[in-house]
Symmetry: C2
Subunit: 376 residues, 2 copies
C-alpha cells in the first residue's frame, strides 16, 4: 500500500482548494464530483462510460442497497465494487437521509431509526452501529457517519437538538467503525443555518476525529443564497488538512460557488436524473430537449463538447428519441450531463492550479448569461 | 465504387449457403442477422455497441420513421445513417407489415393502405410509390417492395388474392424505385403455406427482377413446423445467385433450421425485446433472469460468452438490476442477446465454410437439450 497521505492539499486560490485523496482503490482529484449510483448502477450508464467522463469515485446509497439486494448478499458476492463492476473508490452515505425521505412509518429515537421498507414493507432498524456494519459489508472505501439531516426550516432549538443527536451518533459511528486499513470515515457537520451550531458541530467532530468532514443539512430547500451564506463560514470551521464534502449538491453554479468557498467534494443526482428527464446542462445553461424548437436542429447540444452525444448526434435526434421514449435518450443525455459536470470540475481544478479561479468564475457566469445558441 | 457483385455465393453445405453482400456502405456476411432499429435506435444500445456484437447491417422500420420523426425531416438532416450514427448498411421494410398491425382505421385498396397514425391519429396513405419515396428519403441501402403480409391462417383463395395483390404492388414498387446506384431493391414472396402459390409468387418476382428476394408471410403464428414446411421448398424457388431474406425470424433454432434450408438473411425484435423483458438467449437455452434462483448466483449468464454482461456481471447482479427496473438491465441483457445472435450466425458461417453444418446443427441441439447450468 502506498504511503501517500489520505489527503494532500496542493494549492489554494482564495478559498478554492486543489487537492488529492489517495485510497488503495485509486486517487480522487479534488474538487471532485461523485456521480450517484444509488442501486449499484449509475442509471443509464455502464461503469466504463462513467469512468470515461472523468469520474474518480462513485456514491452508493446504503438505504437502497440494504433493502435490495441486501448488504450480506453484496458481501457474499465479493462486495459492491465487484458486484457493480467499478474497481475505483466508492463512497457510501449512511442511509440516514434516505430513510427519513423514503421509508415508511419512521420512528426516530436515541438508538436510531425504525422504519418499514418502501419496497416490501419489511421492518428495519438503522443505527450508527448497523450503518457502519452495512457500509463495511458493502466494502465502501469512504464511509459516512450516521446522522440526522436536520430538516429545513428548523428553529434554533430544534436545529440544536438535532445537531447534538447527530454528534452523539457521530461518536458511536466512530467507535463502531474502529480502524480499518484502507477505509476511511467522514463525520458530518450539522447546525442548519446557525453559525454557532455549525461551529459547535465542527468542534465536536474535530474532537472525535475523522478522515474527512462533510457539510450536511444543506440543499434541502433553503435556496442558493442561504446555502452560500452557510458556506461563507462553515467550511472554514473544518480542519484545513482534511477533505470537505458538501452532500447532495448541486446545480453547476452551486458547485462553482461552493468550490469558491472551500468545498472539495460533491454528489448529486441532478445530472443523471435531469438527463433522463430531457434536460441537458451546458456551459450556456440548461437545454430542454423536448422543446419543439429542437426538432429540426442539426447542431449538437454544445458544439464544443466532446461527449458522445455531442460528437455524434444532433439536437433533432436527441429530441426525437426523447419524444419516442427510447432508452438511448437517457443513455446519451446522462452521458452528456456527467461529461459536462466532470469538465466543470476539471476546469475548476486547472483554474486553481493556475491561480485563475476568479477569472474562471467570471467566464463561467458570463457564458451562461449569453444563454443557449441562437436559433437557426 | 467497388466492382464487387451485389451478392457472391462462396460456399454451400447441403442447402446452407455462405455468401457476401457488397454495398457502398459496407459488406454483409451471410447468413446474416439484422438487429432491428425501429425508431432510429436499436433499443438500449449505442450503434458502436451494436457493431461490436458483429452486426454488419441494421433494419429500420419505415412505418415508425415516416410517422416520427418523418422521412422528409430525416432526409433534411442527412438521412437515416447520419441521423442515428450508423454508417454501415441499413435495410428498411416497406411499412406494409406494421401498418396492418399497428395503425388504426386501416383501409386496404388496390391503391394501397389508408390509415390513421397510432401516435397522433393523423391521416396517411401508404402505397408502393410512397413507400419507395419514403425509403429513398431515409437513404436506405436495401429497400423492400411494398406488400401485404398475408395473415395466417388464410384459405387458398384469400392467400392467392393477397399474393396477387402483392405481386402487382411488387411491379409498381420496381417501377417507382427505378435504378439507384448503390441502392438495392428486394421483392417479397408471399403465398402463405401453399406451395403452388409460393411458386407462382417466386416466378412473378423473378420476372420483375430484384436484387434480392424475401420470404414473407411467415413467423405470423403458424409455428415452427409449418414454417419449416414452407422453407423446405420456398427458398429453392428463388434465384440461387441472389440473397434470400426470411422476414421477422426468429428464435435461435428458427435461424439454424432456416439456414439449413437455404436462407441468407434474418431480422427479428426477439433478442432486443426479450432482453428488455429479462430473457437471455444462451447456447443452453433461455434464462429468465427475474427467477429468484439467480439472486445469489455469482456466475455469469454463460461462462463461455465474451459479451460485457457475461464478462463483468454475475447473474445475481443482472437479477438485481432487473428487479430494480434499472436501465442497465435492458442495456446488458440486450447486448448479451445481440452478441449471442451474432455468435450464432458467425458459428454457422464457419460451419458452412468448413463443410460441417450438419455437425454444427447436431451440437447446437445437443447443448440446448442439456439445459441451463446446474444450480450452485
Amino acid at each position: 500500500m502506498s504511503t501517500a497521505p489520505f489527503f494532500k492539499l496542493s494549492k489554494t486560490d482564495g478559498k478554492a482548494r486543489l487537492g488529492l485523496i489517495s485510497t488503495p482503490r485509486g486517487e480522487i482529484r479534488t474538487p471532485a464530483f461523485m456521480p450517484v449510483g444509488t442501486a449499484a448502477t449509475v442509471k443509464a450508464m455502464l461503469p466504463g462510460q462513467v469512468r470515461e467522463t472523468g469520474a474518480d469515485i462513485l456514491l452508493g446509497n446504503t438505504y437502497h442497497l440494504m433493502l435490495r439486494p441486501g448488504a450480506e448478499r453484496v458481501a457474499a458476492l465479493g462486495g459492491l465494487h465487484q458486484f457493480m463492476n467499478w474497481d475505483r473508490p466508492i463512497l457510501t452515505d449512511s442511509g440516514g437521509f434516505q430513510v427519513m425521505s423514503l421509508a415508511k412509518l419512521r420512528k426516530l429515537t436515541e438508538q436510531g431509526v425504525r422504519f418499514k421498507s418502501h419496497i416490501d414493507g419489511s421492518d428495519w432498524l438503522l443505527t450508527p452501529e448497523s450503518s457502519m456494519e452495512i457500509q463495511r459489508l458493502l466494502g465502501s472505501d469512504i464511509v459516512m457517519a450516521f446522522d440526522e439531516c436536520t430538516p429545513f426550516p428548523a428553529d434554533e432549538g430544534v436545529a440544536r437538538a438535532s445537531m447534538e443527536l447527530s454528534m452523539r451518533w457521530a461518536e458511536r459511528s466512530r467507535s463502531a467503525f474502529g480502524t480499518r486499513e484502507g477505509h476511511f470515515l467522514f463525520g458530518i457537520q450539522q447546525g442548519s443555518i446557525y453559525p454557532d451550531l455549525r461551529a459547535q458541530s465542527a468542534d465536536a467532530l474535530r474532537e472525535i476525529g475523522f478522515d474527512g468532514y462533510a457539510i450536511g443539512g444543506l440543499a434541502v430547500g433553503e435556496g442558493q443564497e442561504l446555502m452560500f451564506g452557510v458556506l461563507d463560514h462553515a467550511p472554514d470551521m473544518l480542519p484545513e488538512d482534511r477533505p470537505r464534502y458538501l452532500m447532495g449538491v448541486g446545480k453547476p453554479d452551486d458547485l462553482v460557488g461552493a468550490v469558491a468557498r472551500g468545498v472539495d467534494m460533491f454528489d448529486c443526482v441532478l445530472p443523471t436524473r435531469s438527463g433522463r428527464n430531457g434536460q441537458a446542462f451546458t456551459r450556456r445553461g440548461v437545454i430542454n430537449i423536448k422543446n419543439a424548437r429542437h426538432a429540426d436542429d442539426p447542431r449538437p447540444l454544445d458544439p464544443d463538447c466532446a461527449c458522445p452525444a455531442c460528437s455524434h448526434y444532433s439536437r433533432a435526434y436527441l429530441h426525437h428519441v426523447f419524444k419516442a421514449q427510447e432508452i438511448i435518450s437517457s443513455m446519451l443525455m446522462t452521458w452528456h450531463n456527467l461529461h459536462y459536470y466532470q469538465e466543470l470540475m476539471s476546469g475548476m481544478r486547472s483554474a486553481i492550479q493556475n491561480g485563475e479561479f476568479a477569472a474562471f468564475e467570471h467566464d463561467f457566469h458570463a457564458l451562461r448569461a449569453q444563454g443557449d445558441l441562437p436559433s437557426l
